[in-house]
C-alpha cells in the first residue's frame, strides 16, 4: 500500500509501525514517530497498523538553536 514516509511516497506491505521502522533500517534507533500529525509513542508502535495513505513522520535528534 502507498504511504508517505517523511514526505516521500513509499510502497510498503501491510504491517505495524514497529516493523516499518525495522524495514527502514531504524530498528532500535533513537527516533519519535507521528502518524497523520498525531504523536505515536514508542510503546504503541507494535499496536499501530499502518493504513493506506498514512503520512508517517520519523524524527531524530538534530542540531538546534
Amino acid at each position: 500500500m502507498k504511504i508517505l514516509l517523511n514526505g516521500s511516497p513509499q510502497e510498503v506491505p501491510e504491517t505495524t509501525l514497529s516493523t516499518l521502522l525495522e524495514n527502514q533500517g531504524l530498528g532500535g534507533a533513537k527516533v519519535a514517530t507521528a502518524v497523520n500529525g498525531a504523536f505515536i509513542p514508542a510503546t504503541m508502535r507494535d499496536d499501530y497498523l499502518i493504513q493506506e495513505g498514512d503520512s508517517i513522520e520519523v524524527l531524530a535528534p538534530m542540531q538546534g538553536g
Binding site: 517523511n6 519519535a32 507521528a34 513522520e57 524524527l59 531524530a60 538546534g64 538553536g65
Partner: protein, 257 residues
C-alpha cells in the same frame, strides 16, 4: 542565580548546537564556553545515513542539560506534537517552546504560545517559552504555568543585541522572582554582559558562536562576558549621573596659578 524548574545551573550560558562548521568545532565551542545547557531539535531521520543517531552520541558526550526546541513550528498543534516527540526522544520534561508567527522577524505568535504553554504544562512539561518583552504576554505565560520566561533580545540570528533595553529592564523589575533568559538576537559578548547587568539569569545563543570565524574563541568570550556582567551586577554598581564629579580629591591640591 534563580533555578530553572528546580535545577540549579552551574552558569547562565545556554548554547545552541546548529550551524557549526563541523561536529569537532561544536564540541570545542562547548568545551570553551562551559555552557550548562545545549539546545537541540528534531528533524526527519533516514535509515540510510542515520545522521540523528550520530548527532545524539555527540550531544551525550557534552555532559550538559538538554533543552529540545520546537523551532520552525507555526501552529499550536505542530508545537505540541513536536514537544511530545522531543520528550520521548530526549527523555526530558524541558521544552523550549517556539511558535513562530511571522517569517521576516521570526517573531513569536504570542497567542499560540500561551495556548501551547498551557496545554504542555498541564501535560507535565516544563516550558521555556520564547517570547517577547511584552509584560501582558509574560503574565499570561506565568498564569499558563510557565516558571521561566525567555524574551528575545532581537530577531533570531540577527546579532543585533538587546533591541529594547527599556522593555527588558521593565520585565526584570516586574518579575523579580522569575528566571529570565535572553533568547535570540545576541551577536557580541558585550551584549551578554549587558544582559547580566540588567539582572537576567541566563542567555541562550547559537548563531553568534557558530557563525563566528573562530567559534571556540567566541564561545570562550561569551563565557567570560557572562562572568563579567554577573560580577558587575552583583557588585552594586554606581548610579549614573548627568554632570561630572571629580574622582581625584580636590582638597590638598597645590595652588599653581
Amino acid at each position: 542565580m534563580r533555578d530553572f524548574y528546580g535545577t540549579q545551573l552551574k552558569n547562565g550560558l545556554m548554547l545552541g548546537t546548529a550551524q557549526y562548521p563541523s561536529p569537532a568545532i561544536l564540541a570545542s565551542a562547548f568545551a570553551q564556553s562551559e555552557a550548562s545547557v545545549a539546545t537541540v531539535s528534531l528533524r526527519r531521520e533516514s535509515g540510510q545515513n542515520r545522521a540523528g543517531q550520530d548527532f545524539w552520541e555527540l550531544i551525550r558526550q557534552l555532559n550538559v542539560h538538554i533543552l529540545p526546541n520546537t523551532a520552525g513550528c507555526h501552529s499550536v498543534k505542530e508545537a505540541v506534537t513536536t514537544a511530545h516527540m522531543a520528550r520521548e526522544v530526549f527523555d526530558t520534561k524541558w521544552i523550549k517552546l517556539e511558535v513562530i508567527g511571522e517569517e521576516d522577524t521570526l517573531q513569536p505568535d504570542v497567542f499560540g504560545l500561551v495556548e501551547a504553554a498551557r496545554i504542555l504544562t498541564e501535560d507535565g512539561f516544563q516550558v521555556f517559552p520564547y517570547t517577547t518583552e511584552d509584560l501582558v504576554v509574560a503574565e499570561r505565560l506565568l498564569h499558563a504555568g510557565c516558571e521561566v520566561l525567555m524574551p528575545w533580545g532581537a530577531p533570531i540570528g540577527s546579532g543585533l543585541g538587546l533591541n529594547n533595553v527599556f522593555g527588558l529592564r521593565a520585565m526584570r523589575a516586574h518579575f523579580p522572582d522569575t528566571p529570565l533568559v535572553i533568547d535570540a538576537g545576541l551577536g557580541l559578548p558585550s551584549q551578554a554582559t549587558q544582559a547580566m547587568e540588567l539582572g537576567y539569569d541566563a542567555i541562550l545563543l547559537n548563531t553568534a558562536v557558530a557563525k563566528a570565524g573562530d567559534p571556540a574563541a567566541m564561545a570562550r568570550a561569551f563565557a567570560l562576558a557572562l562572568q563579567a556582567g554577573r560580577l558587575g551586577a552583583g557588585a552594586d554598581p554606581m548610579e549614573p549621573r548627568d554632570m561630572a564629579a571629580p574622582s581625584t580629591p580636590v582638597i590638598g591640591k597645590a595652588f599653581l596659578e
